[in-house]
Amino acid sequence: MRFCLYLVLSFLIACFSHALELHQRQSSYINISPQTQAMQDDPTLNPATFWIMDGESLWAQKPSSQSPACSECHGQVITSMKGVAATFPKSVKGRLLNLDGQINHCRTTKQQQTVWPLESKALLSMSVLIANQSKGMPIVANKQPETQMALKTGEALFKQRMGQVNLSCAKCHDDRYGMRLAGSVIPQAHPTGYPIYRLEWQTVGSLQRRLRNCMNAVRAQLFEPDAPEWLHLELYLMWRARGMLIESPGVRP
C-alpha cells in the first residue's frame, strides 16, 4: 500500500517536474501540418528563400564606395559563415551579442554605416542568409565564463511569471508542451528555425519578435527593444536547445 502511494507520488512529481530531459526535446517541426513541413523543406516553396536571395545581394554589395562589402572580408558566405549562427548569442569582446547584434556591430565598425533597425528587411535578410549556412548543424552550448551570469538571468526570466495572465515561459513550454492552447499545439519553444517565416506574419521575423508575441499574449509589459533581457532569454533558449539542429529558415503557421 505504501509502495503504491510512493509510485503514485513519484508519478505526480514526474508529471509536474520542470526540467525537460535532453532526449525528450523535439523541434516544433513535428507539430506543424505536412503542407507546412513541405514548405519549409523545399527551397522553391519556402518564401524565406527570397530573403536569402536579398541577403546574398547585400553580402556582395558595397554599402558605400569607401566601405568594404561583407564578401571582401569574409569571402564566400557558404564557407565563411558555416556553423556561425549555431554559436550565437555569445560574448564578443566583453559584449553579449546575438547574430543581429553581430551584423550591426560589423556594419558600424568595419563598414562605417548606421545600424540596420531591428526587424528591418535588410537585417532579417542578412541574418537569415547567415543562419541558413548552419542548417542541419547542431546548436553549440555556450561555455564562455563571461556569459554564465547572463545564462542564469535568462533561465530565471524563463521561469519568471509575468503579465496579467501570470504565466512564465516554463509553465507552457516546459510543463504543458504537447497540450493545446486555443487549438494549437503548445511547442517546447526551441529556437531552431529563426529567423522564421510565419504564415501569420506573412513575412520573416526574428526570435525577438516571437518572444514579444508571447509576452503580449500573457499581457506582460514588453522589455525595451534594446534591453539586455531579450539577449539573456535568447541565450538561455539556445542553451536549452543545445545539440538540436538548426532549421533556419523555418516555416510555421
Binding site: 516553396l45 518564401p47 527570397f50 506573412q202 513575412t203
Partner: protein, 109 residues
C-alpha cells in the same frame, strides 16, 4: 514593392509527350490589401498582384486573377500537359500595371 519582383518557378526539365506536369510559381510580394494601418495610424497603400499568366510556347495555359484576400508571397501551382519542347513564360501584373516576367525551359521527348 521594388520591381522586378523576385520569383522562383519550378518546371520539370524533362517530360514525355502527353505527360501531366506540375508547374509552380512563387513571387515575392507583400500583397498589401490597403485596409491596414501603420503604427502611427496612417493607412498603408494598397499594393497587390492582380494577374498571373502562364504561356507555353506562346499559348496561354493558365491565368489567375488575384485579389486582396490572397496572402503575401503567393504560390501558384497548376498542372498542364507536356506537348512539345519549348519555353514556359510566367507574368505577374500588379495594381500599378507593372509586370515581372520569368521563364523556364522544358524538353519533351
Amino acid at each position: 514593392m521594388k520591381r522586378p519582383l523576385r520569383t522562383i518557378v519550378t518546371v520539370p526539365a524533362k517530360a514525355t509527350r502527353g505527360q501531366l506536369i506540375t508547374v509552380r510559381a512563387l513571387a515575392q510580394h507583400p500583397m498589401e490589401n490597403g485596409f491596414r494601418h501603420n503604427e502611427i495610424g496612417q493607412r498603408i497603400e494598397r499594393d497587390i498582384l492582380t494577374d498571373f499568366i502562364c504561356l507555353y510556347n506562346g499559348i496561354e495555359v493558365f491565368r489567375a486573377k488575384l485579389h486582396t484576400g490572397i496572402a503575401a508571397n503567393p504560390v501558384i501551382e497548376f498542372n498542364t500537359l507536356a506537348i512539345e519542347s519549348g519555353e514556359l513564360s510566367f507574368e505577374w501584373r500588379d495594381s500599378d500595371g507593372l509586370s515581372t516576367i520569368a521563364s523556364a525551359r522544358i524538353e519533351v521527348a
